[in-house]
């Protein structure tokens, strides 16, 4: 027996195609751990193993002192007995049921009476801004509403652990910010361990207490968002760290970063924000770019790093940014450290997250 509260998991899974997964996760009550990795890294397999949808080949998974899956001694608790709350990728709402029936499904499956389950579902609708939608078919919901139904369905059974598999990936940019805020609030209110699966560094950094980077079935780095950004250990982590993360302050629909004003596509609410800009979204020009993009300024190249056929060009004040361009365009633009350059970023390429 493992007496520790929360999730204590150290296991391996061998899949047919020769893919080997080996992870170790320790999530205390109330803590949120993000599993951050590229597609095919094995993130969803980790969720499936903890949820009891696949069996592990080595090691063990224990939750609040109860062994859920182990090889020696041989233990396997069926998924329906584990008390896990899962928010699946693409939400997987039952399309033939109403909003309320989706939320009440877990309660009904555990033997609660229809009336009681309905009233609990109705409470969850109120809590998640879905009041009045109880009888609506889930087919008619917007992305944000569907995401909240999925969250309510996972939470309604009062699970011992919350597993979130890309909970925001199915949403478009405009609803993502709000959905992330709602998710953050409910994660804070949930007292059990929480595992967030994501490929979005901004999401991981904003919602999790600790980030585990997973690549090719192995956890390659564990640390706080700041630690991983400061000293990335793998190329993938470096790429994540190379993503431009800027802290700013929203005022009057624009974001002030340091002394510079950045224009963004949606109009965020006032307050502190985190801007995410992919290095490939930062364009470099010799002269003031045509069509006068709103985010364009003149600056100086501070650093150039060549990787195969691409270059990462860093610029300094007023805003430190890294741009990723082809080696050809670096030579075409005649860029070297110290040269003057125009930088532009499309407003639509800036991801704004309230922090």
């Amino acid at each position: 027996m493992i007496d520790a509260a929360g999730l204590v998991a150290d296991f391996g899974i061998d899949r047919d195609e020769g893919f080997v997964l080996d992870v170790s996760l320790d999530i205390g009550p109330g803590r949120t751990v993000a599993l951050l990795g590229p597609n095919g890294a094995g993130k969803s397999t980790v969720v499936a193993a903890i949820a009891g949808l696949i069996a592990i080949d080595r090691g063990s998974i224990a939750l609040d002192g109860t062994m859920l899956d182990a090889r020696r001694p041989d233990v396997f608790v069926a998924s329906e007995e584990r008390g896990v709350g899962v928010m699946f990728q693409d939400h997987l709402l039952f399309a033939h049921m109403s909003v309320a029936d989706n939320i009440a499904f877990g309660l009904r499956s555990r033997g609660m009476s229809a009336d009681e389950a309905d009233s609990v579902a109705s409470e969850w609708c109120d809590r998640l801004d879905l009041s009045g939608m109880e009888n609506r078919s889930v087919r008619d919901l917007s992305g944000g509403q569907a995401q909240r139904v999925a969250l309510a369905r996972a939470l309604a059974t009062n699970p011992s652990i919350l597993l979130l598999d890309e909970p925001l990936a199915a949403l478009d940019v405009t609803t993502k910010a709000k959905a992330r805020r709602v998710l953050g609030e409910h994660l804070d209110a949930f007292s059990g361990p929480k595992l967030l699966i994501t490929h979005d560094p901004g999401e991981a950094f904003l919602l999790a207490d600790e980030v585990h980077v997973i690549e090719g079935g192995k956890i390659t780095q564990v640390g706080s968002a700041e630690e991983i950004t400061r000293s990335p250990r793998t190329e993938y982590a470096a790429d994540l760290a190379g993503t431009n993360l800027l802290r700013g302050e929203v005022a009057d629909g624009v974001v002030v970063v340091g002394t510079h004003v950045m224009h963004v596509a949606d109009s965020p609410t006032d307050g502190p924000t985190l801007l995410t800009i992919h290095p490939r979204a930062v364009s470099l020009h010799r002269q003031r770019p045509e069509g006068s993009p709103r985010n364009a300024w003149k600056t100086t190249v501070s650093h150039i790093e060549t990787m195969a056929d691409r270059c990462r060009v860093s610029v300094d004040a007023p805003i430190p940014l890294t741009s990723e361009v082809t080696t050809e365009s670096v030579s075409a633009l005649g860029i070297e450290v110290g040269s003057s350059i125009w930088v532009s970023v499309k407003a639509t390429e800036i991801d704004v997250q309230r922090s």
Binding site: E80, D90, S109
Partner: protein, 268 residues
């Protein structure tokens, strides 16, 4: 289709294909036209209420619905097992289930006779133990018709189960639903359109069954003479009755196919 769209699609399809396709349609259409042309419309009411026809309609309804029910009882579990359970020889079992689709029904009927006929491998001990004789009885018709029609339900439902996104079942389990609850509240409702399509095809095939029935159960009015058998007999003796009964079967078949058209072409 908008007018512009129709014009583009016509322009892009070679004329030769239209001609060949038209000949193909003619092959299906001409027999129906011939049947309708020869139908004695004024005598139709009396022809359709004759003893032979009424008995055959009653027996056909009982047997086709009975075979559909038997297919539901055994075919749905079979489809589920084939789609979901991993076991040795699954390919072999699937081929066996599909065999009646390609086997000439007469051969199927003969095989049934050797197996569960009165002198059959299983039929003989069955008779001495229970006194039950399947051949030349309505129960025999039911067995023969189920043998021929059940594969339609199995392939339709198995296909739907394979195409279905199993992650929905996983979601249900994680929410605390046991295997039966998952099946009843998630799996079945999700593949329901295909189940209905499978039932309709099974029923239609059961209604039209001829070869296995006549071989295994004979042709006794009121006991084993279903509509297709009545047509076969009437062709020799009473052509008008044969035409009238054929017409009913065309109408029924067309109705089922038209009702099904969306489901069959777009499996869920």
């Amino acid at each position: 289709m908008t007018d512009a769209k129709r014009r583009t699609s016509v322009r892009r399809t070679p004329v030769a294909l239209f001609v060949l396709a038209g000949l193909g349609v003619a092959l299906f259409l001409l027999p129906i036209v011939g049947l309708i042309g020869r139908t004695p419309w004024s005598d139709l009411p009396s022809l359709l209420t004759s003893d032979i026809v009424v008995d055959a309609i009653r027996l056909s309804l009982v047997v086709s619905l009975g075979a559909t029910a038997m297919s539901a009882l055994f075919g749905l579990p079979l489809a589920y097992v084939l789609a979901r359970a991993e076991f040795k020889g699954r390919t072999l079992v699937r081929s066996l289930v599909l065999l009646p689709l390609v086997l000439p029904p007469v051969v199927g009927g003969a095989a049934l006779l050797f197996a569960i006929g009165r002198r059959g491998v299983i039929g003989e001990p069955l008779y001495s133990l229970t006194g039950l004789v399947l051949p030349f009885s309505t129960w025999g018709v039911l067995v023969a018709v189920t043998f021929v029609s059940m594969p339609f339900l199995v392939i339709t439902v198995e296909g739907a189960l394979r195409n279905m996104d199993q992650r929905y079942e996983h979601a249900a389990s994680s929410l605390g639903a046991g295997a039966w609850t998952v099946l009843r509240r998630v799996t079945l409702p999700m593949i329901w359109p295909s189940v209905i399509a499978g039932f309709a095809l099974t029923w239609a095939r059961a209604l039209g069954e001829f070869g296995a029935t006549i071989t295994f159960a004979g042709n006794l009015q009121g006991r084993t003479q279903t509509l297709p058998l009545a047509v076969f007999v009437a062709l020799e003796t009473d052509r008008d009755t044969a035409i009238a009964v054929s017409l009913i079967m065309v109408v029924i078949s067309m109705t089922v196919l038209v009702l099904l058209r969306d489901r069959w072409w777009r499996p869920t």
